[in-house]
Symmetry: C2
Subunit: 249 residues, 2 copies
Amino acid sequence: MSKEIKKKPQLELNPNVSVDCVIFGFDFDKLNVLVINRSEKEGIQWALPGNLIYDAEHLDEAANRVLEELTGLKKIYLEQIGAFGDPNRISKESDRSWLQSIRAQPEARVITVAYFSLVKMEDYQPQPSSFATSAEWIPVNEIRELAFDHFEILQAAKARLKQMIKIRPIGFNLLPEKFTLSQLHKLYEAILDKPLDKRNFRRKIQKLKIVYSLKEKQSGVPHKPSQLFSFNTEHYLELTQTGYDNFGF
Amino acid sequence: MSKEIKKKPQLELNPNVSVDCVIFGFDFDKLNVLVINRSEKEGIQWALPGNLIYDAEHLDEAANRVLEELTGLKKIYLEQIGAFGDPNRISKESDRSWLQSIRAQPEARVITVAYFSLVKMEDYQPQPSSFATSAEWIPVNEIRELAFDHFEILQAAKARLKQMIKIRPIGFNLLPEKFTLSQLHKLYEAILDKPLDKRNFRRKIQKLKIVYSLKEKQSGVPHKPSQLFSFNTEHYLELTQTGYDNFGF
DNA sequence: TTTGAAAGTGTTAAAATGACACCAAGTAAT
DNA sequence: ATTACTTGGTGTCATTTTAACACTTTCAAA
């Protein structure tokens, strides 16, 4: 806040292009999305965190910036979903006034480039940010409506994540360093939105060798403590380098 | 050409957003891409067909429009790849002057939304278009360089097509109404960029029931004439409705 | 000590995959 | 008419992958 402007040569906002982020988190039970609250008088209206980009900014940088501004998280898994640009997307009156409040020209045609990212929920406990009244984790499946075309973007993000996890083991970005196979199992079920047989799942994961078992076990649970595992980065890199592209879920 | 301007209320070009199309065609041997020629004095510089969008236009509409302006083809298979927007993408001097010639502000930061589309080459024989000196089909694998960031876009398009064809039988958009299994086979090999066993390929295709055999055969070929097939649209729709998402190539 | 709750483990039948080689049917050349 | 050439078309088998399925273990709490 107290910093000088002009870290970068051109700090011109581009009024036509924004980025929006679909930030997924996993609470060991279901997928959640980070949304910001515009707190209209008439009810609550949620939106995806996003903002206009600077003229001199790469799109990916802009997405990282927005994410960091909101959550303080850097260098996390972030992937482009695509561009969305219905010229009539700013349909509701509330959308218009909201845009005005964050210095965008409400009349301008804005296309938005959507990203999705996967974060460890433990790494971010929402706090009100600079321009959003509040940010909150909401279970994906409870969301029925969002501002602008954000609901459409969310659907696309879910579909993309589902597709992606069949191809690359990106789910680990949603889990802590140490996790149990049951947690991983639930995560896959949540993303793929279908039950997976426990034994078949475990067999498949083990055969892929993308996790390795730690010497440590869970403790303090009122049932048999489970083995802890970590993600095997090296083997993952091998796989992706050989063009491996199917995890068969 | 002789039509009145103003079919749509606002015909303002948006100087910040363009669409570029990667148009694939198949010559029964390899994949080709439609490129336009900027015919600089110093050598030839190819680019992907693209243009700025209108303010009042959906992105998908813009892509369709650009495609139709260039090829006259309507309602063909078209899918978004994503947004590309290195602020420094207009690096070469030749790029700058080219942009000037098509009424874009060369200094403006442009992000471009890339699409790929699949067309039957027989349906389009390139002719010089309004602003391009010429358009040409070029084998994908012979392309080493393109204007702006178009080469990067092409790579992304190839990767996306490869990924997509494993999930949906979109290859049929590249073939004529009637085709042989060998042609389909070659098409899959070209897209996946690896050899596929003939018998295994045929078995898989037949089991999917996405083609049906016509009563007709090839004629005029200096070898055993092959059975002709057509794409089974109905069965394809069934598959996609049931969420089927793996063709297992 | 009992109860509850999640962890962990193996087999089998069915389906999918990958590797592999020969004959058939046409045209063109002699 | 025969031959050569070219591409079309076909089946089997061994291996791997998948999907379905149930019971015992281990801990904390009552």
